[in-house]
Amino acid sequence: MIQVRGLSKTFSDSKRGTRLAVDNVSFDVRAGEVFGLLGPNGAGKTTTLRMLATLLKPSSGTAALNGFDIVREPQKVREQIGFLSGDMGQYGRLTPLEILNFFGKLYGMDAARRASRIDALMTMLDMKSFAGVRTDKLSTGMKQKTAIARTMLHDPPVLILDEPTSGLDVPTARAIETAIVDARKAGKCVLYSTHVMEEAEYLCDRIGVISGGKLRMVGTMDELRAATGKQRLREIFLDLLGLEQ
């Protein structure tokens, strides 16, 4: 589903000069798999995910999502993905229902399909009580549920989730984790970045640790344990970053 090959991204600006944010990153994510991308702040997680979501163009290398190349066929790629970032905002003057209808139209869904998908997602995420309330009046959890519904609205085969539970309370984070588990069961390919080790350990089939723009190691929890000799993901993570004594 996702094949990343030699992906690199360089940023240049007058203040910080040229900096390599992502350095020759390669990995694969299969259908029905949750792949966790773990790394400290500034490691290159968000830049990698933004390139895969075609928001940024790679400086070199490429990737294919569900068979479509991110450089040559960005529009086709965007039809295959649901992209969510933890700090994404919402259109505050619109209601969740209006937001979902808007994005449904952008995904080319007809009125009947939009109505049935919105109804199903609202039931699944328990959103019906606030579906007609302007988003700027909603709690953070309600907003994030709206964002999750928006991401899954067109039933995409690939989900790219950048710290989706960041700043959420435990029940809302749990609802999102459940949605991810359900997506895996439905055969979706989920690429997931997080800071929360317990979450990664619980959700991810395989984990890639990224630091300084480079992918340090990729494997299942057992493979990571075998390679580092550590048991818990926190210790493995610190070991791979060279911070564990």
Binding site: Q75, R78, L84, R93, L94, F103, L106, A147
Partner: protein, 391 residues
């Protein structure tokens, strides 16, 4: 380019805009409430000031230092109240007298009128004094001629008469044309400012842009949808401004007590045909304004930054909009190429009834070209990730 996608973006932006209080104030409240109120207030104030000046000029005394009795009698005959003063200039400046009249002996003797032209009452009083003295001077000349046996007709060997053939509509168009274009263009840019910032920098600040960019909508479709919404906001502002000015100018002649002012207000050429012509001129300008402001506001990361980028642009618009309304410029094909100036000049021309088809076509064509260029720049900017994700 897929029409349903563009339409979805346009509809969403319009819904977002009409629920935004700031946009509603600049787009609807200013043209519909603030402008008519200001206009009505200005007309009433001008009318009241003129009336007060005339009344005061009649009742306020004029300071004099005159030795010739006939001059004093002439002023009294004109029902001007007189008061003896030593320092006439001081009396006028301190407003203890409306004007001053001093007779300075000599051959011929000089009758000096002192007036404070910055004070309408003083000017009106000086005019009354001047008229009374002119009447006295003419009466004396006529009397001398009569005593010498010369007919009074020698004073008027021929009569000079000047007729203004412009007509009331043209005159009114000239006066209001200089103002209407300026107000319309200024409010168009000011009215478009908040919607454009909201859909560019506002989208970045609220962090909604990533969700939009990761949808299957192409960058060009997003730019077209957003620009159409911005253009609609600008055009709605223009139409509401135009409508409210037509209504308040046509209605405000009732507020004025001056017959000249009433005639000027009554004959403003804002009939449906003229208003339609003005609206047509504004279409490509609204497109240009939307795309230009969109390109600039896209650089900003926040609402506040966007406002600081676009506010100077609104001030820049003032100069060509104001100059275009000036009567000294003769419309020419070259001047029709200057953006904003050309629209202001065309609005004045339409009101005066002096627009050639060639100039109209050049203005429309030039503004369409500028709108297309600005749109191309806006699209290019929107495709630039350094602009969209500027940190």
């Amino acid at each position: 380019m897929r029409f349903p996608i563009v339409s979805a973006i346009y509809q969403k932006e319009m819904l977002d805009l009409i629920r935004d209080r700031r946009t509603l104030i600049s787009m609807v409240a200013v043209p519909l409430i603030v402008m008519p109120l200001l206009l009505n207030l200005a007309v009433r104030l001008m009318s009241r000031m003129q009336e007060n000046a005339e009344n005061e000029a009649k009742t306020m005394a004029v300071a004099i230092r005159i030795s010739t009795p006939s001059i004093r009698e002439a002023l009294e005959k004109a029902q001007i109240q007189l008061v003896e003063k030593d320092d006439l200039k001081d009396a006028v400046l301190k407003k203890t007298a409306a004007a001053g009249v001093e007779e300075i002996p000599g051959t011929p003797s000089l009758v000096q009128i002192y007036a404070d032209n910055s004070n309408p009452t003083s000017s009106a009083a000086a005019a009354r004094v001047h008229a009374a003295l002119d009447d006295l001077k003419e009466a004396r000349v006529r009397e001398s001629l009569k005593n010498s046996g010369i007919p009074a007709s020698v004073l008027t060997p021929f009569v000079v008469k000047r007729t203004n053939i412009a007509g009331a509509r043209k005159m009114s168009g000239m006066v209001w044309g200089s103002m209407l274009g300026y107000v319309l263009l200024l409010l168009m840019f000011a009215g478009g400012m908040y919607p454009v910032i909201d859909m560019t920098a506002g989208e970045k600040e609220r962090k909604t842009i990533e969700a939009l960019l990761s949808s299957p909508a192409t960058r060009q479709e997003i730019v077209v949808g957003k620009n159409l919404a911005a253009m609609s906001a600008i055009f709605i502002t223009a139409i509401l401004t135009l409508g409210s000015m037509v209504y308040s100018l046509k209605g405000s002649h009732l507020a004025s007590k001056s017959p000249e002012m009433q005639e000027m207000m009554r004959t403003i050429p804002l009939d449906p045909h003229t208003v339609t012509e003005i609206a047509i001129i504004l279409v490509p300008l609204a497109m240009f304004a939307a795309a230009l402001m969109f390109s600039i506001a896209l650089f900003a990361k926040s609402y506040k930054e966007g406002a600081s980028y676009l506010t100077p642009l609104v001030f820049v618009v003032i100069v060509p909009a104001l100059m275009g309304g000036m009567s000294g410029f003769q419309m020419s094909p070259a001047l029709c190429l200057i953006p904003i100036f050309n629209a202001s000049q065309m609005i004045r021309g339409i009101l005066v009834g002096d627009v050639s088809t060639a100039n109209f076509t050049i203005t429309m064509g030039a503004n369409v070209v500028y709108a297309c260029l600005a749109f191309m720049v806006a699209t290019k900017q929107f495709e630039n990730e350094n602009v969209l994700f500027r940190s």
